[in-house]
């Protein structure tokens, strides 16, 4: 027994960092769209960063806890509530037996992540617990969660006692209008110079055709030198394909492993979370970095996560010491939980 999915939300799946090493067999990677938020959620409950959690899109689920558990909510702000009271994000929370976690509509961002201090009891398939819905494998029965599902934990009892929190400036802010950095290539030489200029100087909007597989964009048309088709080759997270209609498509977590369209550029890994948190209608501009700069930005971003991990390890509170207090601030009443920092 663990938690019951009272309402599944719009599209809630079990995700980890993805199913790598099997792409040569045509197996898509899947995994969290916003890997950064899932990693931070795991850090906050004391997990390995690669552990599986829940990814909720646009409208989060309602979960009833059948026993106590430490969780953390990160990513999009969907107005999380515990038993109807506002729940904090970006910190550990002790859910008690019978507590109900629910979400409203999305306020900022698009995808929220819930990490659990105990491992979700779902099978590891090809080294991963990520749900790949098109291939009907991974996660919970290879599908998105449905009302009435029940997910167990691998460990019988909760052993964690520590709570953790992030500092304000460690919490990412999501925008619906942002610049996304790319490395040109691998097929930028299939485009005339004017097309590269168009790609880098125009604003593109994300269309309604945007899901875990890819984001179709709309904006200035990008023309090819010759044709849009190439002999199929590899695709990675963030590959920007340009088919014959001249509108870019960014390949995301559930991408196919190979494809036959020219790829003008590739989004750098540290900017992928921005895209994952953007929905239809969001505006993006692309800016170019060299591959050397991209390698350096990647390392800086990983160092940032290491620093957060250090902060979290050095700052904890006893999760059972919480004391519920009622506060009145500027005439409004709040219920807050106070923990002593140790």
């Amino acid at each position: 027994m663990s938690f019951k999915v009272k309402k599944a939300g719009l599209f809630t799946t079990v995700q980890d960092l993805g199913r790598y090493s099997f792409q040569r067999f045509g197996m898509s990677v899947a995994g969290a769209m916003d890997l950064y938020s899932l990693r931070l959620a795991n850090i906050l409950v004391g997990n390995e960063q690669s552990e599986a959690g829940l990814e909720a899109t646009f409208m989060g689920p309602t979960l009833e806890f059948m026993e106590e558990e430490i969780i953390a909510i990160t990513g999009a702000d969907m107005g999380a509530k515990i038993n109807g009271n506002p729940a904090p994000m970006w910190r550990s929370i002790l859910m008690k037996k019978g507590d109900v976690l629910s979400f409203g509509g999305v306020k900022s961002g698009l995808r929220a992540y819930i990490a659990f201090s105990r491992k979700l009891d779902v099978p590891t398939i090809m080294g991963s617990k990520a749900t790949f819905t098109r291939g009907r494998i991974g996660g919970f029965e290879g599908r998105k969660l449905a009302d009435g599902d029940q997910i167990g934990f691998k460990e019988e009892t909760l052993t964690g006692t520590k709570g953790h929190y992030l500092l304000k400036d460690q919490i990412p802010q999501y925008r619906s209008d942002d610049t996304i950095r790319v490395v040109l290539g691998p097929q930028d030489d299939h485009f005339p110079e004017e097309s590269i200029d168009t790609f880098l100087s125009s604003t593109y909007s994300i269309t309604n055709e945007a899901d875990r597989m890819g984001y179709r964009l709309e904006g200035e048309k990008i023309l090819h030198k010759e044709g849009p088709d190439i002999i199929s080759d590899g695709i990675v997270f963030g590959s920007v394909q340009v088919p014959g209609h001249g509108m870019p498509i960014i390949m995301m977590a559930d991408r196919a492993t190979t494809g036959g369209y020219t790829k003008i550029a590739t989004v750098i890994t540290p900017d992928l979370y921005k895209l994952a948190q953007m929905g239809p209608g969001s505006k993006i501009r692309f800016s170019k970095v060299t591959v050397e700069e991209a390698n350096a930005i990647y390392r800086k971003s990983e160092t940032g996560i290491e620093e957060i991990l250090k902060h979290v390890e050095n700052n904890s509170f006893n999760i059972r010491d919480g004391r519920s207090m009622k506060l009145k601030v500027n005439g409004k009443s709040y219920s807050v939980e106070v923990n002593e920092i140790v």
Binding site: Y20, S21, F22, Q23, R24, F25, G26, M27, S28, I125, M126, R134, G135, R136, I137, V182, V183, L184, G185, P186, Q187, I230, I231, S232, D233, G234, I235, V236, F237, G238, S239, A256, T257, T258, G259, K263, T266, V267, I268, T269, P270, V291, E292, A294, N295, I297, Y298, R299, E302
Partner: protein, 249 residues
């Protein structure tokens, strides 16, 4: 095939080693040999290799290496590979029941090409097909070498569900659906063996560089093999370095 392998950046943690801009047996062999050489002595920071028709997608960890270092090491390996390399290959026999409920479009394929159903079966099963790459869905192989005599356009209205194991024709390509999926290929038969089993230690039966040989079987044999596959006791016939049959009809 290019004189020199091209190294193209694909973001901050991947690059494409491009060997040519064609679908050819020579490029495919070069790719397989290079893949084997990289796997024998993988450069530090290498995460994953994805062979395709004309390239190897290389995923690396930028915390350990970078684009420049990776290219340097891959160049050394690629240059040492040369033209020869390993000549090892497998011929994987796929027992296939043609026609009937398993291959509902075989009569259309026959009619389209002015052939009898028996001739379609004979032509389709007497050539060995080189598996260039896997992609599209888990375990789906892109096969080369089908005779133009049985080439048939895709269905005008794709089927919403095609059972796993179905063998089909689309234009001058042939292939097998590894999982139940929608699709527009002309279905000519079905194999009872599993090309894709997510719970198996090796989830996918076929590899790039294999030759696929379709072996016609009766409906009774299909049922027998199907039962053995379900019990986990069927052994796929794999011929190592055997004689490859090319399109001779």
């Amino acid at each position: 095939m290019y004189d020199k392998v091209k190294y193209l950046p694909a973001g901050d943690s991947s690059l494409s080693m491009e060997f040519g801009n064609e679908i050819s047996v020579q490029v495919n062999k070069r790719i397989r040999n290079t893949l084997a050489a990289i796997e024998e002595g993988p450069p530090e920071g290498l995460k994953e290799l994805i062979p395709t028709y004309r390239s190897i997608q290389v995923l690396y960890d930028p915390m350990v290496t970078d684009f420049g270092q990776m290219v340097g090491k891959l160049q050394e390996i690629a240059e040492s590979v040369g033209e020869g390399g390993s000549d090892n290959y497998r011929i994987v026999e796929i027992p296939t029941c043609y026609g009937g409920e398993y291959g509902p479009d075989i009569e259309f394929v026959a009619k389209h090409n002015d052939l009898s159903v028996e001739e379609v079966i004979k032509i389709h099963s007497s050539t060995d097909y080189l598996l260039y790459m896997l992609g599209f869905t888990p375990g789906f192989g892109y096969l080369g070498g089908m005779s133009e005599k049985i080439a048939t356009p895709r269905l005008e209205v794709p089927r919403t569900i095609i059972p796993a194991g179905s063998a089909g024709i689309a234009g001058s390509q042939t292939g097998i659906y590894p999982i139940d999926s929608p699709g527009g290929w002309q279905l000519i038969g079905r194999t009872p063996i599993k090309l894709y089993d997510p719970l198996a230690e090796v989830p996918v039966l076929l590899n790039a560089g294999d030759y696929v040989r379709f072996k016609p079987i009766s409906e009774d044999e299909f049922k027998k093999i199907h039962k053995l596959v379900q019990e986990g006791s069927y052994e796929v016939n794999i011929i190592h370095n055997g004689e490859v049959r090319l399109d001779v009809l």
